[in-house]
Symmetry: C7
Subunit: 269 residues, 7 copies
C-alpha cells in the first residue's frame, strides 16, 4: 500500500462525507418545504418523517457502500466477490425499479402526444372519469361517484378520450319482434328531431339524428340504433333526453315494446 | 496523473458542456415550435414547460454521469464499483424502455405490411372503430360513440381490418323449432333478393344473397344464416336493412318466430 | 503465497468474525425488543425464535461465503468457477427479491404522493375498506366485514380513494318502460330534495340533488340516475336514505316499478 | 495517439460513410419499388416516406454510434462507461425485438411443418377463417364477415386446421326428457340417411351417418349426437342440411322437442 | 505445469473428497432422523430414499464440477468455453430457483409483520380456512371441508385475516320493492336486538346492531343491510342466528319478501 | 499487422466460404427431398422455395458476421463495441428462441415418460381428441369435428390421458326434489345392470355399476351419480347407452324428473 | 503455435472422443433397458429409437462444440465472437430449461414436506383426483372419470389434500324463505343423527353432526348448513347419504322446499 493509495483513500472518504452531508441537507429542506406547503393537514408530520428517514437511509447506504468498494479497490483487495454480492442487490433493485421507469416513460408520451389533459373525460381501463391531474408517474381521475383514482401511467394499455373534437349520442331502442319496424324507425327519428329543438339540448348538438336501423335481432326483441353527433362531454345528457322522448313517442304512437303483455296486465290493474 | 490525462479530462469536460448546450437549444426550439403549432390551446403552456423540464433534466444527467465516469477513468480510479452502480439504473431503464421499442417495432411493421390506413374500420382488440392516425408508437381510433382511443402498437396482438377488398353482411334469423324450415329459408332469401333491388342498397352489394341454412339448434329456437357480399364498410347498413325486410316478410308469410304466444296474447290486447 | 497475502487473509478472517458478532448482537437485541413490545401475546416466542434463526443463518452464511472467496482470491486461486457458482445463487436471490424492491418503491411513492392515509376509505383492487396503516412494504385495510387485509404495495395497480375532498351519492332508480318518465323524474327529484332537509342528512350534503335522466333502457325496465354531492365518507348513508325516500314517493305517487303485476297479485293477498 | 491509430480512425470513418451511403441507396430503391408496385393506392406516398424516414434514421444512427465507439477505442479512451450506456439501449432493443424473433421462428415452423396453407380454414385462437396468406412474421385470415385478420405467428399457441384430410359433421339434437329415446335415435338416423342421398350433398359425404346416442342429460332436455364423415370444408353445409332434415322428420314422426307446450299453445292460435 | 500447480490440484481434489464425504454423512443422518420421527407411516421409506438420492446426486455433481473446473484452471486450460457451458445450466437453475427465494422472502415477512398465526382464519386467495402451520416456504390452511391446503408464501398476493381484533356480522335482507321500508328496517333491527340478548350469542357480541338501510335496489327486490360488531371468529354464528331471527320477525310482522305470490299459492296448498 | 495475422485472416475466410457452401448444399438437398416426398401437393413448391430462402439467408449471415468479427479480432480492432451491437441481436434471438427450446424439452419428456402415444384420446388443454402424431416440437390431435390441432409441446401445462389402463363411465341423473330417492337410486342401478348384459356393451365393461347417491342438491332438482368401470375409450358409448336405459326405466317406474308438470301438460296435448 | 499447444489440442480431441463414446454406450444401454422393461407394448420401439436419437445428437453436439472451442483457444484464436454466438444458444437453452428446474425443485419439496403421497385424493388446480405416482418432475393423478393426468410439479401453485387426518362432510340444504327455520334446522339435524347410526356409515364418522344455521339468504330461498367430521376419503359417501336422509325427513315432516308449487301441481297429476 503506497502513499498515493493512502491519499486516494482519504480523498474518497472526504468526497463521501461531503456527498452524504449535501444529501442530508437537501432532504431536510425538502421535508421542511413539504411541511410548510401542507400546514393544517393532520397527517403531514408522520409522512414527512417517514419520507425523510427513507431517503436518509437510502443515500447513506449508497454512499457508504460505493466509497468502501472504491477504497478497497485502491488497497488492492480483489473486488470481484464483493461486486458479485453487490450485483445481487443490483439485479433486485434494477428489476424492481423497471416499472418506475416504464411509468415515467409512459407519462412523458402522454404529455408529448397530448393524449389527454386536465378536465377531459377519459377511460384509462383502470378507471374512468374526469382527469384531475397529469403527472409523470401517475394520472389522477375523479369518477362518477367522486372517488379519486391514482393510476400509474405504465399500467395504461390504451386511453379512450371522450372529450376530443366531438362525441356521438348513441341510443339503442328495444322493440317487439312483431312491431312494424318501419314505423318504429320513423317514430323514433321524429321524436329525436323534436327533442333537439328544445333550447336546453339544441346548443349541445352538432348534426342531425340518424336512424341506422335494426342493430340486433334476438329471440324475443329487436333493437334499433339511432345516433346523433354532439359537442364533447354533452353526449350523455343528450342521450338521456332522447331516450325519454323516444319512449314517450312510442307510447303515444302505440309501438309495441318487447314485453307488451306485462304492461297489458298491469294496465288492467 | 500525467499531463496527458489532465488534457484528456479537459477535453471530456469541454465536449460535455458543448453537448449539454446543444441539447438545451434543441429542446428550447422544439418547445417553441410546439407552442407555435398549438396556439389557442389552453393547455399547451403547461405541457410545453413540463416536456422541456423533463428532457432538460434527462440530457443534463446523462451527459454529466458519462463525463464524470470518463474523467475518473482517465485519472486511474477503479470504475468497476461505479459502473456496477450505474448498471443498476441501466437495467431498470433498459427493461422499462423495452415496451417502447416493442411499440415502435410493431408500428414499423404496420406501415410496411400496410395492415391498416387512415379511414379503415379496424378491430385492434383494445378498441374498435375508424382509424384516425397511424403513428410509429401509437394508433388512434375513433369508435362508434365518438371516443378517441390511443392504442400502443405493441399492445395489438392481432388486427381485424373490416375495410379490405370486400365485406360480408351476415344475418342470423331466429325461427321457432316447429316452423317449416324450408319455407322459412325461402321466404328469408326472397326478402333479401327484393331488398337489394332498392337503389339505396343496390350500389353497396357485390354478389347475390345466399341462404346457408340452419346454423344453430337450441332447446327453444333455430337460427338460419344468410350472407351477402358487400363493398367494404357497407356491410352494416346492408345488414340492418335485410334484418328489417326479413322480419317483415316473416310476418306477412306467417313464419313462426321463437316465442309466438307472447305476440299472440299481445295481439289480443 | 507471500507473507503479505497471509496477513491479508488474517485481516479478512478478523473482519468476518467481528461482522458476524455485530450482526448476532443486533439480532439478539431486535428479538428481545420484539418480545418486550408484545408481552402477553401467546405466539410471540415462536415468532421471535424463528425470525432470530432465519437472520442468524442468513448473516453467517453471507459473511462466511464472501470472506472465503476474498481469502481464496488472496492466495491466487482462480475464482471464476466459484463466482459462477455463486452467481447462480445470486441470480435466484436477485430475481426473487425484485418484488420486495418493487413493494418498497411503491410504498415510498404512496407516502410522497399522499395517495391515501390512515382512516381513508380506499379501493386497492386486492381489497376495499378503511386504511389501518401505511407501511413501506405493506398497507393494511379493514373491510366491511372486519377482515384485516395485508396488501403488498407493489401489487396495487391503481388506488381509488373515496375520502378525498368530496363524494357523490349516486342512485339508479328502476322504473317500468311504460311509466310516465317525466313525472317519475320529478317525483324522484322532489323526494331527494325533501330527504336532505332532514337534520341527520343535511349536514352531510354539499350541493343540490340532480336528476340526470334515463340512464339505461333494457327490454323490461328503464333506470333513472340521480346524483347528489356529499362530504367524504357520507355518500353511502345519504345514498341509502335517498333510495328509501324515492321508493316511498313512487309508491305514494303511483309511479310504476318494472314488475307491477307481481305487486298487484301480492296486493290481492 | 500514434500515426497508426490516426490511420485506423480514418479507415473507420471511410467505411462508415460508405456503409451509410449503401444503406441510403438500398432504402431509396426499396421505397421506389414499393411506390411502383402500388400505383393508384392513395395512401402509398405517406407510407413510403414514413418507412424511408424510419429506416434512414435507424441506419444512420447505428453506423454513427458504432463508428464513433470504434474510433474512440483506437485513441485509447476508456470505452466501458460508454458501452454501459449503449448497453442500456441494447437491453431495451434486444428485449423489445424478442417478439419479432419469436414471430419469425414460429413462421418458419408453420412452413416446415406445413401446418396450414392458403385456402385452408383454420382456427388460430386470435381469429378463425380462411387463410389468405402465410408470411414469416404474419398470417392473414379472412373471417366469415369478410374481416381480414393479421395474426402474428408468435401469438398463435395452437392451430386448428379444419381442412386437413377429412372433416366430421356433428349434430346435437335436442329432445324432451320424456320422449321415446330409441325411436328418436332411429328417426334422426333415418332422416340423415335420406338426406345424404340428395345429389347436392352426396358428393360431399365420405362415410355413413352414425347415431352415437344420449350425449347430455340436463334438467329439462336430452341431446342426441349424430356424426357423419365429410370431405374437408364440406362439414358446415352438410351439418345445416342434416339439422333441417332431422327437425322435419321429428315433426312428421311426433318426436317431442324440449318445450312442446310452447308450440302447443301457439298451435291453438 | 509446475510443481506448485500439481500441488494445488492435489489440494483441490482432497478438499472435494472431504466435502463430498461430509455432505453424504449429513444426508444419511438427516434421512435417518426423518425415518425415526415418522415411524409407523407407511410411505416414509420411499420418501426417505428418494430424498437421499436426490441430495446425494446434487452434492456429488456440484462438488465434482467445481473441483474439475478449479483443477483445469490450475493447469492453464482456458476456462471460458467451459464456464459458458456451465453458465447455461446456471441461468436455468438461477431462474428456476427464483420462486423458491421469493417464497422464503415472503415467509420471512409473514413472520416479522405477524400477518397471521396458527389458529387464525385467513383468506390467502389460493385457499381460505384456519391456519395449521406457518413455514418459511409454505403455509398450510385447513378449509371448511377439512381439506388441507399447502400454499406457497410467494404466491400470496394479499392476506385477509378474519381473526384480528374484532369482526363484523353483516346481514343483507331481501325485501319486496313495494314493502314499507321504514317498518322493514325497524322490524329487522328489533329482531337483531332481541336475538343478541340470548346467552349463546350475547358473549360473542361487542356492540349494538346497526341498520344501515337500503343497500341495493334492483328491478325485483330491495336489500337492507344490518351490521353488528362481534368478537373474532364469532361473526359467522352470529350472522346465521340473526338471519333466522329476522326472517321469523318478518313473517310475524307481515313484511313482504321479494316473491310473495309464490308463498301465497303455496299457502293455498 | 503481422504476416501471421494475414495468414489467419485468410484461413478464416476460407473456412467461412467452405461452411457457407456446405450449408447451401445441405439446404438444396433437403428442399429437393421435401419436393420428392410431397409430389402432387399443389403448395409444395411455394413452401420449398420459401424454406430454402430463409435458411440460405440465415446461414449466410451467421457465417459472414462471425467470420468478419474473427478477422477484425486478428487485425487488432477493438471488438467490444461490435460485440455489444451483436449482443443486442443475440439477446433478441436468445429470448425469442427460448420457447422453441421449451417445446423440444417438453417433447423429449413426453417421449421418455410415455405420457401419450399415437391413438390415445387426450386432453392437452389447448385441444382434446385423438393423438395423430407425437413430435419433438409439436403434437397433432384430431378432435371430434375432424379438426386437426397442432399443439406446441411447451404450451401443454398438463395432459389428461383418457386411454390409460381403464376408464370410468359416469352418469349424473337429474331427479325431482320430491322423488323417492331410495327407489330412484335402485331403479337407475337396476337399469344399468340390465343394460350391461347387452352383448354390444358387455365386452366393454370391466366391473359392476355403482350407485354413489345424491351428488348435488339445488333449489329445483337433485342429481344422482352412478359409475361403471370400462375399457379405455369405451366410456363414452357405455355412458350414452346407460343414460338412455336409465331414462327409460324412470319413465316405466314413474320416477319424477325435475320438471314433471311440463311433461304433464304436454301429455294432455 | 507451440508444441505444447499441439499436445493440448490432441489431449482435448482424445477426451472428446472418449466422452462421446461413453455417452453413446450409456444411451444404448438405457434404451435397451427401456425395451426390456416394456416388452409387449406396441409403441416402445418407436419411442426407444426417438429417445436414443435425441440424446445421441445432444451429447455429440455438446462435446464437439466445447472441444472445438477449447482447441481454438489453445491455438490463440480470439474466442469472444464465437462465445458470443454460443451465448445466444446458451440464453435460449438456459431460459427454455428454467421450467424444468422449477418442476424438479417443486418435486423435491413435495417429497420433503410430504404434501401428498400415492393414494391421497388431492386438488392440484390443474387436476383433481387420486395420486397414482409422485415424481421429481411430474405427478400423475387419476380423476373420477378414470382419466390419468400428468401434472408438472412447477405448475402447481397450491395443493389441496383431502386425505389428511380427517375430513368434513358439509351439506347445504335449500329451504323456502317462508319455512319455519327452527323446525327445518331440527329436522335436518335429527335426520343426520339417525343416518349415522346406520352401520355402513357409522364407522366412517368421527364426531357428531352440527347444524350451523342459515348460511345464505337469497330472494327465493334460504340454505341451511350442516357439517359432520369424518375419516379421510369418507366425506363424499357420508355427504350423499345425509343428503338423501335429510330430503326424506323434510318430505315426511312437511318442511317447505324452495319451489313448493311445482311439486304441488305435479302432485295433482
Amino acid at each position: 500500500m503506497t502513499i498515493e493509495a493512502a491519499l486516494r483513500v482519504g480523498v474518497i472518504a472526504l468526497v463521501a462525507v461531503v456527498l452524504r452531508w449535501l444529501a442530508a441537507r437537501a432532504i431536510t429542506r425538502g421535508v421542511a418545504g413539504m411541511r410548510r406547503r401542507e400546514i393544517g393537514s393532520k397527517r403531514v408530520d408522520a409522512r414527512a418523517s417517514a419520507v425523510a428517514s427513507v431517503f436518509s437511509n437510502l443515500t447513506t447506504w449508497t454512499v457508504v457502500v460505493i466509497a468502501v468498494l472504491l477504497a478497497l479497490g485502491e488497497v488492492d483487495v480483489q473486488l470481484a466477490p464483493l461486486l458479485a454480492g453487490a450485483g445481487v442487490a443490483g439485479v433486485a433493485i434494477g428489476f424492481g425499479a423497471q416499472s418506475l421507469v416504464r411509468d415515467v416513460l409512459a407519462g412523458i408520451f402522454v404529455l408529448i402526444e397530448d393524449q389527454y389533459g386536465v378536465g377531459d373525460t377519459v377511460d384509462l381501463g383502470e378507471a374512468t372519469g374526469e382527469v384531475e391531474s397529469v403527472g409523470l408517474r401517475i394520472t389522477t381521475v375523479r369518477d362518477i361517484d367522486g372517488t379519486l383514482w391514482y393510476v400509474r401511467n405504465g399500467e395504461i394499455a390504451r386511453v379512450g378520450n371522450m372529450s376530443q373534437d366531438y362525441a356521438v349520442a348513441r341510443i339503442e331502442v328495444p322493440v317487439a319482434l312483431k312491431a312494424d319496424l318501419h314505423e318504429a324507425e320513423n317514430v323514433a327519428l321524429e321524436a329525436a328531431r323534436e327533442a333537439i329543438k328544445d333550447e336546453a339540448i339544441a346548443a349541445k348538438v352538432i348534426g342531425e339524428p340518424q336512424m341506422l336501423g335494426v342493430q340486433t335481432m334476438s329471440s324475443d326483441q329487436v333493437t334499433l340504433r339511432l345516433t346523433l353527433k354532439t359537442k364533447p362531454n354533452a353526449q350523455w345528457s343528450v342521450q338521456r333526453r332522447l331516450r325519454r322522448e323516444i319512449l314517450r313517442a312510442y307510447d303515444e304512437n302505440g309501438i309495441e315494446l318487447p314485453y307488451p303483455q306485462l304492461r297489458a296486465s298491469a294496465g288492467a290493474e
